[in-house]
């Protein structure tokens, strides 16, 4: 429970911090400080629980099915790190209170700082591999926010993103590694994993798993070859660097490596993989640090180097090396945090971190200088400071481990070389900033900072000193507990002491100290102190990162262009081709001729379809240049289709097909007016070879599609029918459906639900069409009255004024006749509506007949004339039709039957006799209304577009009598 509190507290603090006002620096600091101190105290209070190999555990089920639990586990090792993280966290908060300027939006800073602390504590205290990855990724995310805190700086943005991409990428590798590890062990429980070392090492997946985990670790701990992000993360505010890049985040990697050391170590792969990364980083970091001009740059490379040291120690595969590694993790955290703080002070008070510009600050800021000097001493491994102790252990282990392997002399050599570089860059760091003549051209006159900034770094330096002088009574016991919790009874005997006598490591230390000082002196003397790092300076990670970024975008863009297209034709081509391919694959072993008896051949049908096919092909050929002709041919093909339906006993289909076909043609004609004219010669010259090829390809596809479709059709037509559903419907239509026309009974009763959906589609489309056309913007050249009409109108007016009873022009006679048709059409439509249940017809056909009647009136009377006399309100019809249909369905609820159950009654009326009333009729009536409304709405809305012509409007403006609003009429 307490462990949970330790984790949750920082997150709660984070949320609270985010909600405080922007300028509440003090409140923020108090909040964050209180949280950090509380955490530290809570952790500290658990000492006796974890001492002597004790483990504190808290667990909740999270996703138990997958073995993912919330499991917090604290042993002495975790305890030590949790203490470190929360303690340094508290110091950093104090420091940041004074470091951050009043203009900085501190809620964001403290909020993410606390969140980071929580994530870090979570990583440390995780007892479940996956949960560990969760917190691990959270540290990456929060550190991204912290590094990018000053996001107005391009470098900050880049640095943050670089850090995020590298560490999250590593995190994904770690996740996979942990998944494999968990799969190997059969559990993600840390205890079980740590106990299963032999099984793990023996497993076939050990290699890939280890590589993945190591990649995760070295990305986080900025080890070669993923070290490059750390120097660029120095754009973060210095408190962030002091925390993340010394004590916390970068330590997570090596922390993890040490955590899993017992389970994973002891193979050649482990040794080579980790030692290579560690040793390379060790040297590379130290060498680069020597040539940095930015104080934080020096520290960043130094961190790479020191983490390399830790990594190398962990790779060495000896128990003592592990202890040394843990020890150095703590030491490094203390001196590096204080160095970062000192750097921050310098930056804060002088306005620069440039080693070249800075000089002689010991006069202006003696306390800072002392603190920095001591911390740098620890970094260099000067005796009596904590860094010295772990360095000695490192030297010793390099000899021990080296002797056990093929790289006998390499390791001590590397270690010594590293020592020389470390001393040199530490000396350079202090010398360039604090010694020499006082600098004159600094952005701000330097002076000591407020106490709040001094105290945290001073405390850390005191810790360095204490540990360095009396290790056995300070860190010693804690380290032993931690090491014991890692190694258990395997923990070797060792002694933390300042003086071990003159041993090889001591000699190496001396060489390093002397060599380092000499090397730095040499550089200064030669004026090379500020030169860019030889060889390495050309490897600019920032540029490389940018280049890679650009390359990714370009590459992806090229790829996306190659694999996507914003054009319609390739898409349709692919869809059709895919379907063909899929069908071809599935059809491989079918027989295309079945054995059902065929219908007797009829030459008339053949003739009919010769005509139909000619129409289809003609339409295909003419659709580009002779749209009108293509349209008439489409009409021909439609009629032949209709006749075919009639021929093969589908009267309802024939009726529907013909009515829909005609309405469609009318619709297309209405649309044709808005399409651009196309002249044959426009296109002829564009017949390039490529275009021909394209057409050949399309033709081949079309032929293939047609052939395939015909083949499948034939294959099915020659097989006996499956009458499962059909016989039920035919047998029950009259008795239970109350209708003789089985198709109609299916439509309004058996499968009335389909019809409900179908009319909904129609209603939706009408609505959409209407809405779209209200905002329609015609092409300029088609706005005006068509040429045909202008010429015709010049000769004789077709229509007259809206007040006229009949058109005054030549449309008079047609109008007389056509207006007589409307009532007739209405009657025919009623007829089809009412008898649909027993004979071909129904609401849909009836509705289309009625709608056509209306449309013909528009054709012979003109929009203005019709609408000045009649408001149709098609939208109303659509809505009421839908409601009627759905209401007919809901009627069944009253008798607690399912939706759309037919409810019928026989009513006796005076004079008329028995009348059969059924909800089915209401349903069909709904269909009827909706079809009228939708069809009229679509056609008339399209027709209304002609009103946009300025010529028409000019004529209309002259009208004195106000007319009804046609659009209102459409509602």
């Amino acid at each position: 429970m307490l462990l949970t509190l330790i984790i949750v507290l920082p997150f709660i603090g984070s949320v609270c911090a985010a909600l405080l006002p922007t300028n509440a620096r003090n409140a923020e600091a108090w909040l964050a400080g209180a949280v950090a101190v509380t955490c530290a105290l809570l952790v500290g209070s658990q000492y006796f629980a974890v001492a002597g190999g004790g483990v504190v555990r808290t667990a909740w089920a999270w996703l138990p099915q997958a073995g993912l639990d919330v499991y917090f586990r604290m042993d002495a090792y975790a305890w030590l790190f949790a203490l470190l993280v929360s303690f340094i966290g508290a110091l950093v908060v104090l420091y940041a209170r004074y470091y951050m300027s009043p203009e900085d939006p501190v809620p964001r800073f403290f909020s993410f700082l606390l969140a980071f602390m929580g994530a870090m504590l979570g990583t440390i205290l995780s007892g479940n591999l996956i949960q560990l990855v969760v917190f691990w990724e959270l540290t990456s995310l929060t550190s991204f926010m912290l590094i990018g805190y000053w996001y107005h700086l391009a470098d900050a943005r880049r640095g943050a993103r670089m850090a995020l991409i590298v560490t999250v990428g590593g995190g994904f590798c770690l996740l996979l590694g942990m998944l494999l590890l968990g799969e190997i062990v059969g559990s993600y429980d840390l205890d079980r994993v740590l106990a299963a070392g032999d099984a793990i090492r023996a497993h076939a997946w050990y290699g890939p798993m280890l590589v993945l985990i190591v990649v995760g670790v070295i990305t986080k701990s900025a080890q070669f070859p993923f070290h490059f992000w750390l120097p660029h993360a120095m754009t973060a505010p210095t408190p962030v660097s002091a925390y993340l890049h010394s004590a916390a985040m970068v330590k997570a990697g090596v922390f993890l490596l040490a955590r899993f050391w017992p389970a994973l170590h002891g193979t050649g792969l482990w040794f080579w993989l980790i030692c290579t990364a560690g040793a390379t980083s060790l040297l590379l970091g130290a060498f680069s640090a020597l040539f940095q001009r930015d104080m934080k740059g020096v520290l960043a490379y130094s961190t790479i180097s020191h983490l390399g040291l830790i990594t190398l120690l962990l790779g060495m595969d000896t128990e003592l090396a592990l202890v040394a590694a843990v020890f150095h993790m703590l030491n490094h955290a203390t001196f590096k945090a204080s160095l970062f703080m000192a750097t921050g002070i310098v930056d804060h008070e002088t306005g620069t971190r440039d080693l070249k510009r800075l000089s002689g600050l010991r006069h202006a800021m003696p306390i800072t200088a002392s603190i920095a000097a001591v911390a740098a001493g620890a970094m260099a491994g000067v005796p009596l400071l904590n860094g010295f102790l772990s360095k000695e252990m490192f030297f010793e282990e390099s000899i021990v481990a080296g002797s056990a392997s093929e790289v006998r002399f390499a390791l001590p050599l590397i270690a010594t070389l590293w020592g020389i570089f470390s001393v040199a860059y530490s000396a350079r760091f202090i010398h360039q900033v604090f010694f020499g003549p006082p600098a004159r051209d600094l952005p701000r006159p330097p002076h000591e900072p407020t106490r709040g900034m001094i105290v945290p770094s001073a405390l850390l330096v005191v810790a360095c000193l204490l540990v360095g002088v009396v290790p056995a009574v300070t860190l010693g016991p804690l380290l032993k507990e931690a090491a014991f919790s890692l190694l258990g009874p395997d923990l070797p005997e060792y002694e933390l002491a300042v003086w071990h006598g003159v041993s090889t490591p001591f000699v190496m230390s001396l060489v390093a100290l002397g060599g380092g000082m000499a090397f730095y002196a040499f550089l200064v003397k030669r004026g090379l102190a500020m030169m860019p790092a030889p060889l390495l300076s050309r490897l600019d990670a920032r540029r490389a990162f940018d280049l890679v970024n650009v390359a990714i975008v370009r590459g992806a863009d090229k790829a996306a262009h190659a694999i996507f297209s914003s054009r319609l034709q390739p898409q349709l081509l692919l869809i059709v081709a895919s379907a063909l391919l899929a069908a071809a694959v599935a059809l491989q072993d079918t027989v295309f001729v079945g054995n059902a008896p065929l219908t007797p051949p009829d030459p008339l049908f053949v003739l009919l379809w010769i005509g139909g096919a000619a129409c289809a092909l003609g339409a295909a050929q003419q659709a580009k240049f002779h749209r009108f002709a293509a349209l008439t041919m489409l009409g021909g093909a439609g009629l032949v289709t209709c006749l075919t339906f009639a021929w093969f006993s589908a009267p309802d289909l024939a009726l529907t097909q013909i009515s829909v076909e005609v309405v469609t043609v009318t619709l297309l004609l209405l649309g044709l007016r808005w399409l651009p004219p196309r002249i044959l010669s426009d296109d002829e010259r564009r017949r390039t070879a490529r275009a021909r090829l394209r057409r050949a390809r399309d033709l081949a596809l079309a032929v293939a599609a047609g052939t395939g479709f015909a083949a499948i059709t034939f294959a099915l037509l020659t097989r006996p029918p499956m009458l499962g559903l059909a016989s039920f419907f035919v047998e029950h239509a009259l008795e239970h459906g109350g209708g003789r026309n089985v198709v109609n009974v299916i439509l309004v009763d058996f499968r009335g639900f389909d019809t409900l959906g179908e009319i909904t589609v129609l209603g939706i489309v009408a609505l959409v069409v209407y809405a779209l056309l209200r905002r329609f913007r015609p092409a300029p050249e088609s706005v005006d009255v068509p040429d045909a009409q202008r010429e015709d109108e010049a000769r004789e007016a077709a229509f007259g004024a809206p007040r006229d009873l009949l058109p005054q022009g030549y449309m008079k006679v047609p109008a007389v006749l056509a207006r007589l048709l409307l009532p007739i059409a209405a009657f025919i439509s009623f007829y089809f509506l009412l008898r649909g249940h027993n004979a071909p017809g129904g609401g849909f056909v009836g509705g289309l007949v009625m709608a056509t009647g209306f449309i013909v009136q528009y054709m012979v009377g003109g929009t203005i004339w019709v609408e000045s006399r009649l408001k149709i309100h098609p939208q109303l019809w659509v809505a009421l039709g839908l409601l009627a249909a759905v209401g007919a369905g809901m009627g069944a609820w009253l008798s607690s039957r399912p939706f759309l159950t037919a409810v019928a009654a026989d009513v006796r009326l005076p004079f008329v006799g028995g009348v059969h009333v059924s909800s089915v009729l209401l349903f069909d009536f709904g269909v009827y209304m909706l079809v009228i409304g939708a069809t009229v709405l679509m056609l008339v809305a399209l027709a209304h577009q002609s009103l946009r012509s300025p010529r028409k409007r000019a004529a209309l403006d002259g009208l004195t009598e106000p007319l009804e609003e046609p659009d209102e009429a459409l509602r």
């Binding site: 015709d792 047609p814 048709l821 007739i824 012979v860």
Partner: protein
Amino acid sequence: MTLADLPLWASLPASLLLVAGGLFTLIGSIGLVRLRDFYSRMHPPTMGATLGTGCMLLASMLVSAALLHRPVVHEILIAVFVVLTAPITAILLMRAARHRPRR
């Protein structure tokens, strides 16, 4: 009931009417192809629409009446409809032909 039930007094005239109707329709359609100018082509299809359809309607009425033993006259509706609508299209098409420039 099937067509075989049809008495001869009905089937003979019905057959004649049918063949005549079919021939009028066919001749009308042939005229549509054969005649040289549009105005002339306007005439023959009317044969199919009027006498062709008329004969078939009569035949239909005859057959239905003979089989159902009651007068069946609803075929008249089609005739009425054809007569009502034909002038409208004719007027529009003639006007188009006379005044629209060749496209």
